[in-house]
Amino acid sequence: MSDHKTMTINLVVWRQKNANDPGKFENYTVKGITEHHSFLEMLDVLNEDLIKTGKLPVSFDHDCREGICGMCSQVVNGAPHGGQERTTVCQLHMRNFHDGDTIYIEPWRATAFPIVSDLVVDRTALDTIIQAGGYVSCHTGGIADGNAILIPKPAADEAMDAAECIGCGACVAGCPNSAAMLFTGAKVSQLALLPQGKAEAKARVKNMVEAMKECGFGNCTNHYECQASCPKGINVKFIARMNREYIKAQF
């Protein structure tokens, strides 16, 4: 254990009061960081320091801090969630950094995600896409008997892979075009793979694709940067599946 060894980290943090404020970078130095601090805990230390000196703490989104809620949303040194494979920023640990490192922290940058404050962005647009068709409308009644609807194991597995999406928006943040194709593709695919979702598959894909555009997301140009940015490792094959579903929906 190297608990006694602490790091001093230089931070360059995006500060923006509200959506209309132009915003700018501020430099901070945070001391006493151990390798066991998570990235958000390091920001907690910074905020305690800021509060003690009477300054406004840095706003950032967080909730579960165990990598499953999809709230935390920071571009760390140019990579959404810090760029460690399958890791949300709350699960990124300071052991990945060195004493004296300079770390840039920026919010998700996309027209569809207006900045609320500092590192907090408004991701309502993702909800709008889901509301356009990311559900199954049916009478649910009582709990169905197990295996009443047979689902092939590969289809169930693939649907589950798509359902891993936590809706954090890293795919949009990483995409050079700010496209929401991986997010939308994952939801379209998850439901299209399962018998319960097939009935509404055509209307769903059309409506969700339309909603993507209305929300102001960009167009996919197949960079696949989204997959590299996704903390759940959602594969771009789900974008291909959505494209397929979209073509099918035309006939």
């Binding site: 140019g78 996309a110 555009k213 960009g218």
Partner: protein, 220 residues
């Protein structure tokens, strides 16, 4: 369908694919130059002896494909720039390639090259061309091509344009399969490699013509 993101992507993919098929056929036809002056001239004569309506219809379709591809490409790029208002101070790219990032620029360069290429060899209005007839009284295409590629600038321009074509196709070919949905995680790397190879074959094939004339390998 053609107002949405995916709809327009599909239009880009299909028009791009048609133009790729043309580029392949065009290279196959042009490779008749390696059979010497007779080869290229008889190929050109065969093409021009096709019924005029067929030639004009073909040209109209190609022009249509070209315009749709270019205009949608420009429109989508403008939309994508609008969707990303502020760029990151620091940005790492893990999957994005030089080719994928610069599709609009390689595309516009190719568009300009195609216009030049048509003015050069189809309308023959650029200066310095040798415009003569061969012994049989037909237009000597080989002499025209040879006169253009004998200069460093002439051969170099075409070679450079083909490098741009390679970059455009390197991203474009695999992108076509993804956009059409004919893709999954298992074949995606293979499609990318195959697309790169096709683009490479086109690059080497096309570049071989100006270079072999410039270096005097091909004399007719």
């Amino acid at each position: 369908m053609f107002s949405t993101s995916i709809g327009r992507k599909i239009v880009m993919a299909v028009t791009g694919c048609c133009m790729l098929l043309f580029a392949i056929v065009h290279l196959l036809g042009n490779s008749s130059i390696f059979a010497g002056a007779v080869g290229l001239n008889s190929y050109a004569q065969h093409l021009h002896s096709l019924p005029l309506p067929i030639i004009m219809a073909f040209r109209a379709v190609m022009l249509g494909l070209f315009l749709v591809h270019v205009l949608y490409g420009i429109q989508l790029t403008i939309e994508n720039r609008t969707a990303t208002p502020t760029s990151y101070a620091v940005k790492v790219s893990r999957k994005t390639t030089f080719a994928s990032e610069n599709m609009i620029w390689t595309g516009l360069l190719l568009g300009a090259f195609i216009v030049y290429h048509l003015l050069h060899f189809t309308f023959r209005v650029t200066p310095g061309l040798t415009l003569v007839n061969d012994a049989a009284g037909h237009f000597n295409v080989f002499a025209m091509v040879a006169s253009s590629f004998s200069s460093f600038a002439g051969a170099g321009l075409y070679a450079a344009a083909m490098v741009v074509l390679f970059l455009h196709l390197y991203h474009g070919i695999q992108s076509f399969f993804q956009t059409m949905g004919w893709n999954c995680d298992c074949i995606q790397p293979k499609i990318t490699t195959a697309g790169m190879l096709v683009a490479l074959v086109l690059l080497l094939g096309y570049v071989s013509i100006p270079l072999s004339i410039f270096f005097g390998i091909l004399k007719g």
